[in-house]
Amino acid sequence: MNLHEYQSKGRFARFGIPVILGKVATSPQEAYEIARELGGTVVVKSQVLTGGRGKAGGVKLARTTEEAEQVANQILGMSIKGLPVRKVLIDPAANIGTEIYLGVTNDRAAGKPVMMASSEGGVEIEQVAHDKPEAIIREHIDPFLGLRDYQARNLASGINLPREHWRAFTKIAHGLYQTYLNTDAVLAEINPLVITREGQLIALDGKISIDDNALFRQPELAEMRDIEAEPKEVVHARAAGLSYVKLDGQIGCMVNGAGLAMTTMDMIKLYGGDEVGPANFLDIGGGAQADKVAVALRIILSDPGVRSVLFNIFGGITRCDEVARGILQALGEVSTNVPMVIRLNGTNAAEGRAIIDSANIPNLTSAETLTEAAQKAVDAAKQAMRAN
């Protein structure tokens, strides 16, 4: 789960990192009020959960309150990478001298957090890694010892930070590590960390991504999720414990297991070619019971672009009879004539098939193998599209 810029900087401030942080407006009028309150030049920044806001015109300077209102009006009407802007952050403008980068993330291979610093701030770190890899200095952090002072000095020294800023930099590095640790983050980055012309180090922009698996112990952060910014079906899927990603195709998929779900998508694409593709990624997880399956089916059917549905279940911890019951439950509530293909295998597959067969649903056909199922679903979708 990603936090907005204003939420991230709010967390940074809590862990002692100096930040530039104004207020959030949801209307041009509000933006005007905030700009007046702050006084002077402000920056109006779109709050959407994607990078490249600046390039897209989602971050603008405003020298007067009127200009702030005007710019806010403009940005609040925008969509950036398909995401509508519903909030803008009004920050006082900083007197930027130098921009650096400071971030901490998990290094999977090392099994440790790694802190990264770069003198090339203000640019996406992936870009720096690609263009000028030697500009990124890395320090692996022993999770048992936490960040040590000497490591902050190694980073400061590595990016040739002038010595008068080392103390402030070390404090910020500790604050960032504490933010990472205490928010169960998988990424916490300050970009840019600016040195103002007055010689202060301040976090101008930042990003925090939270480990979804840790949200159970981060109730305050879980509350911060911007549900408004998400499609309804994503919210429902999460509430039911389903992994769901909306895609652009025509075939709704319900699969147990992430690897098998990706494979199912890949096969739909393989047989569907340029004509039809998967409408979603949906993993019902291990051990799903009937209720959860029903929610999943309702989410799939709520997508108006869906022309056929493919169930691919290979039972292990999940039992096929439970899945079958869930499908019937959902179909009892939501009537649909979208063609559906079901393929059950593994734990209690025979029982599941018997349940489906005895229900006698006209638009639901069975398949023996994944290949067969994918082909049938693709054919059904194509037929439905031609019929329209």
Partner: protein, 286 residues
């Protein structure tokens, strides 16, 4: 005797009295008579469940049953503690089925176990099976067949798919291991590839990867250097859009790294035959 577990494995089940724990313990008992020697549920020590004794602590369970392996079915918030409890008893094999353990918890577990005597499979994995001998996990037993193919996979049900396809063609398996889809897990591809290469009963190897991370790339480098047995592979997520997490916490393509194509190229470069769809695997091994 395949790898990791065989008919002599003595297994305890942590979380034996829970819903999942009960169901799969029953399945494991049915598959390999005698493999499950006890269970652990704090507060239920002294009782019996599914015909085996239940203990309050792993320490007692190991002492009383002589177990040399544990399988974990506890809820995610207690996952790390359950693993560490098994580690404290120095069990050689610990399989953690539990899904959803926070990354920070797993970092602590990983760094605690490093260099120690225990091997962890998982978490968030289907465990392993040595067909005809021992099932330590949730891989459905009836889809497997004893034989000479070693399987290692980051996913669960996708593995079943391939096992099933192999068994249908009478191509049996030595051991099939699901190492799990989390960003930090106890055992990686390389660990399993090494064991399969060194195992006299394994003749060929199947590797099932997916997008995200660089495990498959590192596995490819290891195969090139160390593995002489034929290897076939499949990578899930060719069509997954970048930047979106596909179910597994590990399955995310970021900044051009971790793409399916990069992994396929690396594997092919190491002499591995890579399947376009999983059901091609049997053919690639013939």
């Amino acid at each position: 005797m395949a790898i990791l577990a065989d008919k002599n494995t003595r297994l305890i089940v942590q979380g034996i009295t829970g819903r999942e724990g009960s169901f799969h313990t029953q399945q494991m008992i049915e598959y390999g008579a005698g493999i499950v020697v006890g269970g652990v549920t704090p507060g239920k020590g002294g009782t019996e469940h599914l015909g085996v004794p239940v203990f309050d602590t792993v320490r007692e369970a190991v002492k009383e049953t002589g177990a040399d392996a544990s399988i974990i079915f506890v809820p995610a918030p207690y996952g790390a503690d359950a693993i560490l409890e098994a580690v404290a008893s120095e069990l050689p094999l610990i399989v953690c089925i539990t899904e959803g353990i926070p990354v920070l918890d797993m970092m602590r577990v990983y760094n605690t176990m490093k260099g120690g005597p225990s091997r962890l499979i998982g978490p968030n994995c289907p465990g392993l099976i040595t067909p005809g001998e021992a099932k330590v996990g949730i891989i459905p037993g009836y889809i497997t067949k004893p034989g000479g193919i070693g399987m290692v996979s980051r996913s669960g049900t996708l593995t079943y798919e391939v096992i099933w396809a192999l068994s249908e063609l009478d191509m049996g398996q030595s051991t099939a291991v699901g190492i799990g889809g989390d960003p930090i897990n106890g055992t990686n591809f390389i660990d399993c590839l090494r064991m399969f290469q060194d195992d006299e009963h394994t003749e060929k190897i199947v590797l099932m990867g997916e997008i995200g991370g660089d495990e498959e790339e590192r596995a490819a480098a290891f195969i090139k250097e160390y593995v002489t047995k034929p290897v076939a592979a499949y990578i899930a997520g060719r069509t997954a859009p970048p930047g979106r997490r596909m179910g597994h916490a590990g399955a995310i393509i970021s900044g051009g790294a971790g793409t399916a194509q990069g992994k396929i190229d690396a594997l092919e470069e190491a002499g591995v035959k890579v399947a376009k769809i999983p059901t091609q695997i049997p053919k690639l091994l013939s």
